[in-house]
C-alpha cells in the first residue's frame, strides 16, 4: 500500500491508505489525528467527498474549525 498525507489541524501523518475511501480513513484516524466531526475535507485545497478513493501521494486535509472559546 502507498503513502498518503493526512492533516488535521496541528496533527499530520503519512499513512499507507491508498486504495481506501476517505470515509474509511476518517473513521480509522479520527482519534489519532483528533479529526473534528464537523471538518470539511479538502484534497490539494479542493473539496472532496467521502467516497473518494485515496491515491498514492494525495495530501488530504480535514479542515479544523477555528477555536471558538477564550
Amino acid at each position: 500500500m502507498s503513502s498518503v498525507q493526512l492533516i488535521s489541524g496541528a496533527n499530520a501523518e503519512s499513512a499507507d491508505v491508498a486504495g481506501k475511501t476517505l470515509a474509511e480513513v476518517r473513521q480509522a484516524y479520527q482519534d489519532v489525528l483528533n479529526i473534528d466531526p464537523r471538518a470539511e475535507v479538502r484534497l490539494g485545497g479542493k473539496p472532496v467527498g467521502p467516497d473518494y478513493v485515496l491515491q498514492e501521494g494525495d495530501q488530504v486535509e480535514f479542515i479544523k474549525v477555528a477555536g471558538a472559546k477564550g
Partner: protein
C-alpha cells in the same frame, strides 16, 4: 507615532496575553497606545482560569493592573462590548487588533470592520478544551494580504451560529463550555508569536496556526493561493 494596539476580550486568553505583551511594549515600543476592550466583569468563578486582582469590569481591572506594573506605558480601558453600533469608533485604520474573544459572532464583526480599513493587522485566537488556533488577517493599502477570518475554510466564522454578547445585551446567552487554562495560555503565547513574527518579519504570513496540547504539535497553514 507609536503603535495603536487594541486587545479585545480580557478573559481566559486575554489575561495571559496582556502581561508579556505589556512588558515587551514597555521596553521595546514604549510609545505604543494599548487599549483593552471588554464589556464583561470578573466573577469569583473566573479565578479558575483567569488572572485578576479585584472584581470589576475586565478592561478596567486589567488597565489598572498594567498601569501599576508598567507606568511608562499608555494603557486605556474601553469597558464595553464591541457591537455594530460602536465598532467604527474603536477599530480604526493602522490598528493592531489582538482578538481574544469567546464567540465567532464578534470575530466576524471585527473581521468585517477590518475589511473597511486601509491598513490593519488582526490576530485572532480561540480554543476548544485541549486544542486551539490562531488566525491572521492583514490588510495593506486597501488590499487583503491574507484571507479574512471568515472565509471558505472557516465558514463557522463567516456564518456564526453563536451570538455577540453585546448585541444580545446579556452574556448569559453566550454558551459556556469547559476550558483548560493551559490551552488558553498556549493560544495566548501563539498569538504573541504571530505578533512578533509580523512585527519583525513583515506582513507575508500564513493565515492559520493550529496547536494541540495533547500531542504537542503546532502547524502553520497558508490558505490564500
Amino acid at each position: 507615532m507609536g503603535m495603536d494596539i487594541k486587545v479585545v476580550g480580557i478573559g481566559g486568553i486575554g489575561t495571559w496575553l496582556l502581561p508579556p505583551l505589556a512588558r515587551f511594549l514597555t521596553f521595546s515600543h514604549p510609545d505604543t497606545q494599548l487599549t483593552l476592550i471588554d464589556g464583561d466583569a470578573f466573577e469569583l468563578k473566573n479565578r479558575e482560569r483567569q488572572v485578576f486582582n479585584t472584581i470589576g469590569n475586565k478592561a478596567q481591572v486589567h488597565t489598572e493592573m498594567l498601569r501599576d506594573s508598567f507606568p511608562e506605558l499608555d494603557v486605556q480601558a474601553v469597558p464595553e462590548y464591541l457591537t455594530s453600533e460602536n465598532i467604527a469608533l474603536h477599530v480604526s485604520d493602522q490598528s493592531w487588533i489582538l482578538l481574544c474573544v469567546d464567540n465567532h459572532a464578534t470575530r466576524k464583526l471585527i473581521s468585517d470592520r477590518s475589511e473597511e480599513l486601509e491598513n490593519v493587522r488582526l490576530i485572532s485566537g480561540g480554543n476548544e478544551l485541549t486544542d486551539g488556533s490562531v488566525h491572521v488577517f492583514i490588510r495593506e493599502n486597501g488590499q487583503n494580504l491574507t484571507l479574512p477570518l471568515g472565509n471558505e475554510y472557516h465558514t463557522e466564522v463567516a456564518f456564526p451560529e453563536d451570538r455577540n454578547p453585546g448585541e444580545v445585551g446579556c452574556d448569559e446567552l453566550v454558551t459556556h463550555e469547559p476550558q483548560l487554562l493551559f490551552t488558553n495560555f498556549q493560544i495566548a503565547a501563539q498569538m504573541l508569536s504571530r505578533f512578533y513574527a509580523i512585527l519583525t518579519r513583515g506582513n507575508d504570513q500564513d493565515e492559520d496556526l493550529y496547536c494541540d496540547l495533547i500531542t504537542g504539535n503546532c502547524r502553520s497553514i497558508r490558505r490564500r493561493r
